[in-house]
């Protein structure tokens, strides 16, 4: 196992795109954790000099002063501080929703794939049903029922996204259950649970890692979209999608209200996509593009 991981790491380290993605992703996590220290201002403070005489957002104050490096928003708040705090929301939703999705997907896919038969059919049909709903519309309908809050968003994104992982895991476990080491364990009298936990789960870790990374990208995008539609994380909590929604009425006079939060979303999604792709190539060279 250890040599396997070492080979995987060597393959990963050779991939410049993947390394860059991993570095940016790590940086974003650090920014999210250290937001209170890194942000130059309180993200909720409305500065008296944060609006022009006409009541419009102030553009970047560079190079004359470093007070508002990226300018202010429509309420005179510091945009950079809000983007830094927004990283917290995105990362929290992305990581926790993904934990739900990967956990559920692994459990459903592994049980359906290993047990098979009627149980497997039912589980996979349920997966098909959830998959039939357009992800965004299903999330939108669920949020409408449960009323938006950050925990509801996390739950809803986890609840709509696990199906893809379940499909992939199902396929893998169908193959694994015929493997000799699994048959050996079965003939030695190991229980289904033991086989799943001790013999099958370890083989699913690469899949879980790859989808763990790609899933964060998808979830961050979904959270930003829900917040942009006004049914995600609610103000005054700063979220990137919400910032764009609230700033879009000013895009003609203050385009930075759109440009910077959008760049933050793009960079986050891009970095986790690059990282996930790199991990897949490193952990499963057979699937290399």
């Amino acid at each position: 196992m250890t040599t396997q991981w070492r080979t995987a790491w060597r393959r990963f380290a050779r991939n410049r795109f993947a390394l860059a993605g991993g570095a940016i992703a790590l940086l974003l996590v650090v920014v999210a954790v250290l937001a209170p220290v890194l942000a130059p201002h309180d993200p909720a403070e409305q500065f008296a000099d944060g609006l022009t005489a006409q009541g419009l957002p102030v553009p970047s104050t560079l190079p004359h002063s470093t007070k508002f490096i990226l300018g202010t928003d429509q309420l005179g708040r510091d945009l950079l501080s809000r983007i830094i705090w927004g990283a917290r929301v995105s990362m929290t939703v992305g990581v926790l929703a993904n934990a739900i999705a990967v956990g559920t997907g692994l459990a459903v896919g592994a049980v359906a794939g290993y047990v098979g038969g009627r149980t497997g059919d039912v589980l996979m049909r349920i997966t098909d049903i959830v998959m039939a709903f357009p992800t965004l519309l299903l999330a939108v309908a669920l949020v409408a029922i449960l009323k938006p809050s950050i925990w509801v968003i996390i739950f809803v994104i986890g609840a709509v996204y696990w199906t893809w992982i379940a499909r992939v895991v199902y396929g893998e476990v169908r193959v694994l259950r015929e493997a000799e080491f699994v048959q050996a364990a079965r003939s030695l009298g190991a229980s289904t649970l033991t086989i799943l936990w001790r013999h099958i789960l370890p083989h699913l870790i690469p899949t879980a890692i790859v989808w763990g990374s790609l899933g964060i990208a998808t979830n961050v995008m979904l959270e930003a979209t829900l917040s942009y539609l006004g049914i995600g994380v609610q103000p005054p909590t700063p979220s990137w999608g919400g910032m764009i929604q609230q700033g879009q009425n000013f895009y003609r006079t203050a385009p930075w209200l759109i440009i910077y939060p959008g760049l933050a979303i793009m960079l986050t999604v891009l970095s986790f996509n690059l990282l996930g792709d790199g991990l897949r190539d490193a952990l499963d060279p057979r699937q290399k593009r």
Binding site: R125, P134, L142, I244, L270
Partner: protein, 307 residues
């Protein structure tokens, strides 16, 4: 073929039945009272009770579910409080706009993604290849609502080339279609790249080269034509995906499709309209994916024989 078709249809029917259970449960567990919504905020308690009885909301759960299925099967998805018209009628009046946008977006994906991918394959492992991979990933990673707003700012507001939103002629369609399609360009480019690489190794391509055909003729006549097969399949599978995918684009551009209608319904607490749209799109997704499967099976005998 018949067996394959029957099996595929049966599977679809179970999925559709499941969809009806899920949507019914969502309506049932909604905190808003449909009778109160229908009667309006000023109606008396007695009036609301009467309407509740008329709507059958005092019946047992399974009776309510039975009635729900019966109504949906007759094409009745409920009545929108806010639009004051049947939900089905509201959806059908907006559907053409959504379909127009979807097909335009797929056109954008194909028109940009395929050449990019073929080029990347022909120049494999050069800077062209790297750049196209990166461009593809940036496209996939950009939030469509952000791209849409940037396009509006640059091409509509600053340059004045296009209108600022709404539906109309081709000029109204171009920016929304670009916005919706750009995210997928990356997938098509990757697909086109790998399938071109597969074809480039094929014997018939070597033969074509060996008999002295000019390079570009080989590419157009032998490589691209054969590399297109998996891409056509992908375009088919994209239609159901886009039904949900264009929602945000419709919002940014004020495009009068069903996605925008659904989001507005949520902001207005119009439950029948939300659930009707969700049910309708889910069924649409199932039906269009069957259609794609059947067309694929007709084109490729291996699929129907293995199934």
């Amino acid at each position: 073929m018949a067996t394959y078709l029957v099996r595929r249809l049966l599977m679809a029917l179970t999925v559709i039945a499941g969809i009806s259970v899920v949507t019914f449960a969502m309506i049932y567990f909604l905190p808003t009272d449909p009778a109160r919504m229908y009667a309006g905020p000023n109606a008396s308690v007695e009036a609301v009770a009467r309407i509740r009885h008329q709507m059958g909301l005092d019946q047992p759960l399974w009776v309510q579910y039975g009635r729900y299925v019966e109504r949906v099967l007759q094409g009745d998805l409920g009545y929108s409080y806010k639009l004051q018209m049947p939900v089905t009628q509201a959806i059908l009046s907006r559907l053409p706009y959504t379909l127009e946008l979807i097909f335009a977006a797929i056109f954008v994906e194909l028109a940009l993604g395929v050449p990019l991918g073929v080029l990347a394959a022909l120049r494999k492992n050069t800077w062209v290849d790297g750049l196209s991979t990166l461009a593809a990933l940036v496209g996939v990673s950009s939030p469509p609502f952000w791209l849409g707003l940037l396009f509006l700012y640059v091409f509509a507001f600053k340059l004045g080339w296009f209108p600022l939103g709404g539906a109309g002629g081709l000029s109204h369609l171009i920016l929304p279609a670009l916005t919706a399609g750009l995210g997928g360009v990356g997938w098509y480019a990757r697909m086109a790249r790998s399938s071109t690489l597969n074809v480039l190794d094929a014997d018939y391509v070597r033969t074509a080269r060996a008999k002295g055909l000019p390079g570009w003729i080989v590419v157009v006549r032998h490589v691209v034509r054969n590399a297109l097969n998996p891409i056509v399949t992908m375009a088919g599978q994209d239609i159901p995906w886009f039904v949900g995918g264009v929602v945000v684009v419709e919002m940014v551009f004020g495009w009068p499709g069903i996605g925008r209608m659904a989001v507005e319904a949520i902001l207005m607490d119009d439950v029948p309209l939300i659930m009707g749209t969700v049910t309708f799109t889910a069924v649409l997704v199932v039906l269009s994916s069957i259609l794609v499967d059947v067309v694929q099976a007709l084109l490729d005998p291996r699929i129907r024989l293995n199934a």
